[in-house]
Subunit: 202 residues, 4 copies
Amino acid sequence: MSRTERKRGRRVEQILAVAAELFGERGYDAVSLEDVAERLDVTKGSLYYYFAGKDELATAAIETLGSDWTGRLEAMAASAPGSAGERLRALIRAHVAIAVREYPAALRLFLVPRTWPDALRARITEMRRRHDQVFRTLLAEGLESGEFAVVATGTTLQAMHAAMSQAPLWCAGLAEDEQERAFDELADTLMKLVSPGVGSAR
Amino acid sequence: MSRTERKRGRRVEQILAVAAELFGERGYDAVSLEDVAERLDVTKGSLYYYFAGKDELATAAIETLGSDWTGRLEAMAASAPGSAGERLRALIRAHVAIAVREYPAALRLFLVPRTWPDALRARITEMRRRHDQVFRTLLAEGLESGEFAVVATGTTLQAMHAAMSQAPLWCAGLAEDEQERAFDELADTLMKLVSPGVGSAR
Amino acid sequence: MSRTERKRGRRVEQILAVAAELFGERGYDAVSLEDVAERLDVTKGSLYYYFAGKDELATAAIETLGSDWTGRLEAMAASAPGSAGERLRALIRAHVAIAVREYPAALRLFLVPRTWPDALRARITEMRRRHDQVFRTLLAEGLESGEFAVVATGTTLQAMHAAMSQAPLWCAGLAEDEQERAFDELADTLMKLVSPGVGSAR
Amino acid sequence: MSRTERKRGRRVEQILAVAAELFGERGYDAVSLEDVAERLDVTKGSLYYYFAGKDELATAAIETLGSDWTGRLEAMAASAPGSAGERLRALIRAHVAIAVREYPAALRLFLVPRTWPDALRARITEMRRRHDQVFRTLLAEGLESGEFAVVATGTTLQAMHAAMSQAPLWCAGLAEDEQERAFDELADTLMKLVSPGVGSAR
DNA sequence: CATGAATGAGGCTTCATTCAT
DNA sequence: CATGAATGAAGCCTCATTCAT
């Protein structure tokens, strides 16, 4: 890889970092290329040297965003000590914290797919799958050891993700310490989904 | 009420039905007045005869949608027999079924807060509150009788709603009977949130 | 003239009165047919039963406005006692008072002609001519008796009209009594245009 | 200032020249951005590269126009020889000549106050004030030396400006030499406003 | 006569995209 | 590589006008 290519690579990363941040904050429609360019002290047109268009930039940005996000969760899952339950709870808290603080509009980002080209959609799906895998693995571990019990693995994961990614909506106006408490409550609440014990309240 | 007024009322309802469907499918930004008008075989400008603008149309559409939805759940909650648990489970199933079958993407409608005028936001919030109340009441009943136990009422409701309203995303391609099973699984899963027993898996 | 025709005539007059008021207040562009209709408690469409379109309505309204205005000045010119100078001064004051208080945007109204059909333009011109005549007659009288002296009759009248019709612009925010003083000052100032004495300050 | 900036500056000037002409000819409401763009052989949207919107463009156009105009009058007032009367008369002639020949309908530009944002209105007011100042200064000089006499300074200036800026309306169709005569007559007529002697003809 | 409804043209504005330099 | 400039499509909105009832 030549020096030029590395340089280009770095530039691309810079752009993606900024784009991920903006898209994550405001969602696809509310971010214009002008916004991205301005934050980079660059002209709109320059972005086209690196990306074919807004969709491609957005997809790449989502991938960056997801990669960063997943990467941090993976690292935490791998390194965290404690029982499966302790680690899962930590994972949930971390996920929610990232969602609320860094990518409050990530949910919005995943709800535009109807208009997106299939190719991009596939990559987004793949990215979500990888993200999901972190939780799935930990869940499987706890299930195998008997520490967890669920009604159905897939459904449980879906419900967890739904709650975690919507958290920014209701944590929007909270103060720092109120948010911390909200995270705790949400984590504790979601842990009930995997709790053995009486099962569901039916 | 004169015949003319009834006629106008019916027209408004037609428009709202179409608008609710479209906004529910694609979200606020991705629906243009042109889209709504076309679906009604009418010109864009005509919509302004009934609504002052896009915001007002969208709000009315949401209100219509939410009112119908909430009304049905309220009726069910009032009439359903059985324990609090049985009724809550039925409510969850009904909610999800409506979401998936009739308003497959209502979720998108709630994700535009950044752009909406305060007045409209207030009405949407009020609508959500009323919707929430149905579940909250039932939950309170079960908690009082000791049939339920939760970490925190608000958080539990938020998590439930999140999972229920995102259901359409992952139930999209399922066959009729697969959907039924998915509803059951989701209901059972969410019931764990209110289950007494060991509490969270911490 | 049948009863029906008289009734229609009265309706037309009502409409014109309202239209003259509105156009005189805000100018041509800033008044919509909706505005006129609303003030009459009538539907937009109904206006088309009496007038072929906005232009025709506006022209007729201008004529009404001008007729009313000119009529009052004519009456005053005919009945007022005193020297030509005293009567001219009274006329100026009356003109300005009407302009400022009742038709503050009349000036605006006369500045749209570029877009108007020739037929309408002719009528407006004719109307202005008649309006002008009141002043011209009085001026001629004073000139003949030697009470007045002007550089050139036409130019003097133009200058007077210009100053009188622009008065609303600078009298806009004044209080009642300040306006009265402004009227006096303007009248006195303009009377210098017809003063004999040293002629111009050249 | 870089070459690029100079180029942009020139483009802005081109646009402003065209805009000033059009707005001056027809008034604010009767000119669309499409009109301006077409005259520049450019698309509507391109104008937004230079101006934030119609209001800003119009204000800048007025400012350009007024600045040029005032500048020339200031220069003339400063350099012209002769008594205050001679200089004032020259100033009036120059003002009218510019109005009629170069900005034949600038008057229209000043007649949109109802619709304009406060900020822009303030700048227009300021511009008019500066314009006014040229005449006011000269008038004050003549008053102090006893060469002039007026009823009221402000009113006199208003009347003068009104007559001068409406001149294009009645000088529209005149031939070159007729215009010259009209300018003379108007100047002589307006000079009566500052003439000592018998005062007003009351 | 009057209304309610609809239309269509036009206006302002935004923005992804292109391209010569 | 990057920029400045321009484009064109699309969006929201207003309003004069038409017309069946």
